[in-house]
């Protein structure tokens, strides 16, 4: 208790001051830690960008990461997309039928999918599948001194380990998002047209009329940022992993949680930005088609 500035605890006033002091100290630590982590992640991201241009990534490091991120995630992303599409159809059908607008389901489902649900849910799924796996692999490499071994043999760990993972996420997560969108459209169509019996031609006409290429672009554009965030946050967590199995577990969990929070934050920011762009280009809010 040597650092307690209020040794006389008898009066209520000093008790209040003491608790205020503790409150400030605890929250101060949280804020300082938060700010320094954001700073560290930014420096980490900057170093990664420098290394991306300083030396060409090696094929032997690119291919396994592209395979792990792209090919192995395909089934889970397709499944997620299909089910979102079907669930959207189930949730919206009765409300739209009550007002006689069930044929507009095509527009509602597909618009929500390509603009918002496809990219965000695919990114969330991938933050869990790809992000935590990356943090666990890099964390284990840190704990078992494999990262030190890389450095000692003249390889830069950011160039060797982070750049390929970043490229895999930035290039393939948008591609996987397109896959999630497509499967969602198929799932929504299946449930609306085949199960609920909505007219096929009207469903498709409404989809085409209301969902424009800017909507599709919005989703894919956001997914590039989501991919970059997942890669940077997860690799950073892996690189700063604490010792032991618990440390690796924490790194994997933190990678997912922080990527997810960042995806949500970025989603809001990018939506505001894209809306501004949209209305700047088409002041009347006109559609492309």
């Amino acid at each position: 208790m040597a650092t307690d500035p209020f040794p006389n605890m008898d009066s209520p006033q000093s008790r209040l001051l003491s608790s205020l002091h503790r409150f400030a100290s605890v929250w101060g630590t949280v804020v300082i830690d938060g700010v320094s982590t954001v700073g560290d992640i930014s420096i980490f991201g900057w170093q990664m960008i420098l290394w991306m241009f300083r030396a060409k990534p090696k094929r032997e490091t690119l291919m396994p990461n592209f395979y792990a991120v792209g090919v192995l995630s395909l089934p889970v992303v397709a499944l997620t997309g299909t089910f979102i599409g079907m669930v959207l159809a189930i949730q919206s059908y009765h409300q739209f039928k009550n007002i006689g607008l069930e044929t507009f389901l095509g527009a509602v489902i597909n618009m929500s999918l390509v603009r918002e649900l496809g990219p965000v849910l695919a990114a969330t799924m991938l933050a869990g599948r790809v992000g935590s796996a990356m943090a666990a692999v890099l964390g284990t490499m840190r704990v078992t001194e494999q990262i030190d071994a890389l450095i000692s043999m003249g390889a830069n760990p950011i160039h060797y380990l982070v750049v390929p993972r970043f490229l895999a996420c930035v290039l393939l997560i948008p591609a996987l998002t397109v896959m999630a969108d497509f499967m969602g459209i198929v799932g929504g169509y299946f449930y609306s047209v085949i199960v609920f019996g909505i007219d096929h031609a009207q469903y498709l006409r409404n989809s085409r009329e209301f969902v424009g290429s800017f909507d599709l672009f919005t989703g894919v554009f956001k997914s590039v940022f989501f991919g970059a965030t997942i890669a940077v946050v997860s690799c950073y967590r892996g690189f700063h992993c604490q010792a032991g199995a618990e440390g690796v577990g924490r790194a994997a969990t933190a990678a997912f949680v922080q990527s997810f929070v960042m995806i949500l934050l970025l989603d809001i920011v990018l939506n505001i930005f894209l809306d501004a762009v949209y209305f700047a280009i088409w002041p009347s809010g006109a559609k492309l088609f």
């Binding site: 040597a2 490499m141 001194e145 494999q146 071994a149 450095i151 000692s152 003249g154 390889a155 830069n156």
Partner: protein, 303 residues
């Protein structure tokens, strides 16, 4: 003045055999407020084999890592072959790393690669030396550490601890580095495998004039392999003003040392540590670890 002139004479390249290939100058290493190493000055001559001994937590592995730039000293410098390694840029440091070989405690083989790819890793980074083929080099090094060629397509997880360590040694040796650093090479191995590793370290030195630094707490290994032993002591346990290097000399001088802490370590006696442990059980944790840095309040009194 006398001393500094002598110093200059021993550090000039003219004095051939005794020229230090590696030198630490007042090197200190600190994490936050925790002092790991303080003012360590050591000169390592070319071709020497040095064992760094000391109890767990005394900072010997950190010392080894600081020598090759895996950790940056808080103050002081590390000079390898006349170059201050902290002042080198990325490219020069990468080139210099060709001349280092590091054998990690648990081998640190890359799980995602086969044994063959692991051993060839330095060749892929720095290129194959002229007039040699990668395949021949891999086979030579594998034979040198006494492993059959059928391990080459295997993954590190399929090998035993001793085999992994030998693969780690083969990987460190592939470019015939000038400086080999071993981090606890015999820890966790059975006595026979420990001796195999000792013999391998000695054979490597006989084959070519490599400088080796071995961090270990295996006294049998240190006495057998090293020509010079340095004992590091945890900074937190030192009396004020004492050097962290308690012993620096040939293995034969270990038995005649007067420092009780050295003889205690060499003989493997718990001595007053046992009493300290019992006392801490009775008095709580505050007595177990003494000071961290005399200049700072170590925070223990807050508990």
């Amino acid at each position: 003045m006398q001393e500094s002139i002598l110093d200059q004479i021993t550090t000039t390249p003219m004095s051939s055999g005794k020229r230090p290939i590696l030198e630490t100058r007042s090197m200190s290493l600190q994490f936050g407020r925790q002092v790991i190493l303080k003012d360590i000055s050591v000169k390592v001559n070319k071709g020497e084999t040095i064992a760094i001994i000391g109890e767990s937590g005394c900072g010997k592995t950190m010392f080894l890592k600081a020598l090759v730039g895996l950790l940056s000293p808080t103050s002081g410098s590390v000079v390898f072959d006349g170059q201050d390694i902290q002042k080198l840029d990325d490219q020069d440091m990468t080139n210099l790393r060709k001349r280092f070989g590091f054998v990690f405690q648990n081998a640190a083989l890359f799980d995602s690669m086969t044994i063959s790819q692991n051993i060839a890793f330095p060749l892929r980074q720095h290129g194959v030396p002229k007039g040699k083929s990668a395949q021949n080099l891999i086979s030579e090094r594998l034979a040198e550490v006494g492993l059959p060629s059928n391990v080459l397509p295997k993954r590190p997880s399929q090998l035993s601890g001793g085999m992994r360590k030998r693969v780690g040694l083969a990987r460190a040796l592939i470019l015939e580095p000038d400086l080999l650093l071993y981090d606890e090479p015999t820890t966790g191995l059975d006595p026979i495998m420990s001796d195999v590793i000792n013999e391998l370290m000695m054979r490597t030195r006989k084959r070519y004039p490599v400088t080796s630094i071995i961090v270990t707490h295996d006294m049998h290994s240190a006495r057998k392999v090293a020509d010079r032993i340095i004992m590091l002591y945890p900074y937190s346990r030192l009396e004020h003003g004492e050097s962290q290097i308690l012993f620096d000399g040939p293995p034969s001088a270990l038995d005649s040392t007067r420092d009780r802490r050295v003889s205690q370590f060499v003989k493997g006696e718990a001595g007053e540590r046992l009493m300290e442990m019992l006392a801490s059980r009775n008095n709580g944790p505050a007595n177990t670890i003494s000071r961290v840095d005399p200049n700072h309040d170590d925070g223990m009194d807050e508990e």
